[in-house]
């Protein structure tokens, strides 16, 4: 029992450190990738090749004056950034990073909590993110944040539906809500091959859920100045960013688990490389794709975004479910 507690605490700490490092270097990766896409080199003064840039950013934000405008709804104003960081940190706990390893005679699964309804849990927790934006926008008591908050409420609710439906095909094929089972089911065929449409819809909907370009309407700086975080400064502002990048890590990890075979190597002869490495490669691949999209595309308009979700993505994902079910029935009969 004691061993279990100790192991879980160690795992939690390692995972927390991992996520935070990912977030910190996610910001650096964003700036580096963006720099290279735009024919620049990105940050390069802090440390070798700019590797200490996240530290410098963090320090700067930490020492900035924390301004709370006089007209804001104070408790909610403070609560909103906290809500931005909490959901991704809660979500990362159910993601399996690899198969179990044996250390000191204990068999340790590389997941903090192997819940049998992990997917449901993930979506339940992820839907909390919208509160941080809506509350942040509302509590600021200012016009641009309010518009940003309103936009995001509509956007995130519509895309959450699509996001949920896009992965139903995977769940039907794997026959389980447990992420570990889903990864096991992809031993031979990754679901990206059997569910290509599902994967595409997942990526699109995840980008929208993450409020990233081309769907970054809640914070469209050319229209709404800063969107929902216009009135925030210092660490409160940083919390929103921590939340955004942590969400990106989670979305990439979930994508890797559901569609890219989790820790499974692409070919059997490559299985000498540990599963966790494969998992991280896939995670960062999706992460990179998100960055890539952001720096290549313009932004959609609010009404176009909603039309896109309700008129195209939703019917498509429903079609995907029906088609998957049909094929499964047909295969079963044979």
């Amino acid at each position: 029992m004691l061993a279990l507690v100790v192991i879980t605490i160690v795992k939690l700490l390692v995972l927390f450190a991992f996520t935070m490092t990912c977030v910190a270097y996610g910001t650096l990766a964003e700036r580096k990738v963006c720099g290279h896409i735009q024919d620049r080199i990105g940050p390069c003064y802090c440390g070798p090749r700019g590797l200490l840039q996240p530290l410098a950013d963090g320090l700067k934000l930490f020492f900035k004056e924390d301004i709370t405008p006089s007209e804001v709804d104070k408790p909610v104003f403070i609560l909103a950034p906290v809500l931005a960081v909490a959901p991704p940190l809660l979500a990362i706990g159910v993601i399996p990073f690899g198969e179990s390893i044996t250390l000191f005679g204990h068999k340790i699964p590389l997941v903090v909590a192997d819940v049998n309804v992990a997917v449901l849990y993930l979506f339940a927790v992820a839907s909390f993110s919208v509160y941080s934006i809506v509350l942040g926008g509302w509590a600021s008591n200012s016009k641009y944040p309010l518009l940003g908050g309103l936009r995001s409420a509509a956007q995130m609710i519509s895309y959450e539906l699509v996001l949920g439906l896009s992965i139903m095909g995977v769940i039907m094929l794997a026959g389980s809500f447990s992420l570990t089972d889903i990864v096991h089911a992809q031993k031979h065929w990754w679901f990206v091959l059997t569910q290509p449409l599902g994967f595409l819809i997942y990526i699109v909907a995840a980008t929208a859920e993450l409020n990233r370009l081309p769907f970054d309407l809640p914070e469209a700086e050319s229209e709404l100045v800063g969107g929902y975080h216009t009135e925030y400064s210092s660490m409160k502002f940083a919390m929103f960013f921590l939340g955004e990048y942590a969400n990106m890590v989670v979305a990439s990890a979930v994508g890797a688990c559901l569609f890219l075979g989790g820790w499974n190597p692409p070919f059997a002869f490559l299985s000498f490389i540990p599963g966790i490495i494969w998992f991280l490669i896939k995670l960062f691949f999706i992460f990179f794709t998100l960055l890539w999209i952001r720096w290549s595309w313009p932004r959609l308009r609010y009404d176009q975004l909603m039309t896109f979700s309700w008129k195209y993505l939703l019917p498509l994902s429903l079609l995907n479910i029906v088609a998957t079910a049909g094929v499964m029935l047909w295969m079963h009969r044979i």
């Binding site: 735009q38 641009y144 050319s222 595309w297 176009q304």
Partner: protein, 389 residues
């Protein structure tokens, strides 16, 4: 708010009533600017919004007013030239051009051919650099940030050329009454040629990113429409009116410089929307590049070295008045000068294209969404230095 009828549970059971009965909605007034990332300076647009839809638009200008027209009355003619740089500060050569043309017309000065070619070359390079800055910021407003940096990469090359010619990059003051300040420096023609040769390839980068991008098309096609007739009535000019199918370009209708000696095509599109104005400017950049090439061909062969006409030391135009206009990157730029025979203008009036173009904005965004205002402001390409003067 419209009535929405529905069933409501009350004490008497289910009753059909207006669901919006107790809901009070009113327009929200939003100040866009004077400090706003997409108003390109200190433009202030006050929007009345119903949700995200625009009910009313009001434009407030004057935050950058420096009283140039009055200022001109206390400056001698050559002294006012550097002030014109500060009108549309990203296309200083074109501003100079309009002013010197007006003064030359007043005094009846004939400018040597070489000077004309140099002026045309500079004006066209300016047009490219101005359109590059426009494309950069316009794309940035619509969310495509990468285009921004690509455009600045090429604009930098043009600014380097300006620096070679006159030492300044932005407020150049290179033109003089009767010609230009000095002849082209050694090595300029080669460097300019190099730019003109690689520019079309570089311009392809921008096209690859946005020309056929579905999101770009969705954001620009059928957005901020204005018909040619409405545009003309509101004084719209330049690329903005040519995007509405009006074939009007000062370079063709009242040729100045050497525009009647070089071969080029006027860019006109019939779309009337943001996308059409975008296409017009894209084509103009390429046409300008062609004109530059032809100017360079002439300047390479020509060895007359006459870069300025013989002009009296003290500029003292005879009594009278003159209006001269040029096709500045933003539209028709006109200078109207009244002279009383002294060394200073009696009255000077500037017809600034951005100022007139801006007046079409409320018409363009009638009933549009907030995001469309940004696209519309971008598409008419205003520079506040010129609007407020």
């Amino acid at each position: 708010m419209d009535e929405i009828r529905g069933l409501v549970v009350t004490e008497e059971g289910l009753v059909e009533q207006d669901l919006m009965r107790d809901t009070l909605t009113k327009e929200m007034w939003v100040n866009m600017g004077p400090q706003h990332p997409s108003t390109h300076g200190v433009l202030r647009v006050v929007l009345a919004l119903e949700g995200e839809r625009i009910v009313d638009t009001e434009i407030y200008i004057g935050y950058l007013h420096r009283g140039f027209e009055k200022f001109a009355e206390s400056k001698t003619y050559p002294q006012f030239l550097p002030i014109t740089d500060r009108l549309d500060y990203i296309s200083a050569h074109a501003m100079n051009y309009g002013y010197v043309l007006a003064v030359e017309k007043l005094m009846g000065i004939e400018v040597p051919l070489r000077a004309k070619y140099i002026r045309t070359l500079m004006a066209e390079l300016t047009r490219i650099s101005s359109h590059l800055l426009w494309l950069a910021t316009h794309a940035l407003d619509i969310g495509a940030m990468t285009v921004f940096l690509y455009c600045f990469r090429e604009r930098e090359m043009i600014l380097d050329l300006f620096e070679m010619v006159c030492g300044a990059r932005l407020t150049t003051s290179y033109f003089r009454i009767g010609g230009v300040a000095n002849d082209l420096p050694d090595g300029f023609i080669e460097k300019c040629r190099e730019f003109c040769n690689i520019f079309p390839q570089k311009a392809k980068d921008y096209d690859d990113l946005i020309l056929k991008n579905r999101i770009w098309l969705a954001r620009t096609i059928n957005v901020a429409n204005i018909s040619g007739e409405e545009g003309l009535n509101l004084g719209l000019s330049g690329p903005s009116i040519r995007g509405s199918g009006v074939k009007w370009d000062i370079r063709v209708s009242e040729p100045y410089g050497v525009y009647d000696k070089v071969e080029w095509e006027m860019a006109v599109e019939d779309g009337c929307d943001v996308y059409a104005r975008y296409l017009v400017r894209l084509k103009e950049m390429r046409e300008s590049c062609k004109i530059c090439q032809q100017c360079l061909d002439f300047l390479e062969k020509d060895d007359s070295g006459e870069f300025r006409a013989k002009v009296p030391k003290v500029i003292k135009p005879p009594e009278g008045e003159a209006y001269a206009c040029v096709e500045a990157p933003k539209g028709e730029l006109g200078f109207y000068i009244v002279s009383d025979g002294s060394t200073k203008p009696y009255r000077l009036k500037i017809r600034a294209p951005s100022f007139a173009n801006l007046m079409s904005l409320p018409k363009m965004v009638e009933g549009a969404l907030v995001a469309d205002v940004i696209a519309a402001i971008g598409s008419i390409d205003v520079v506040l230095g010129e609007v407020d003067r």
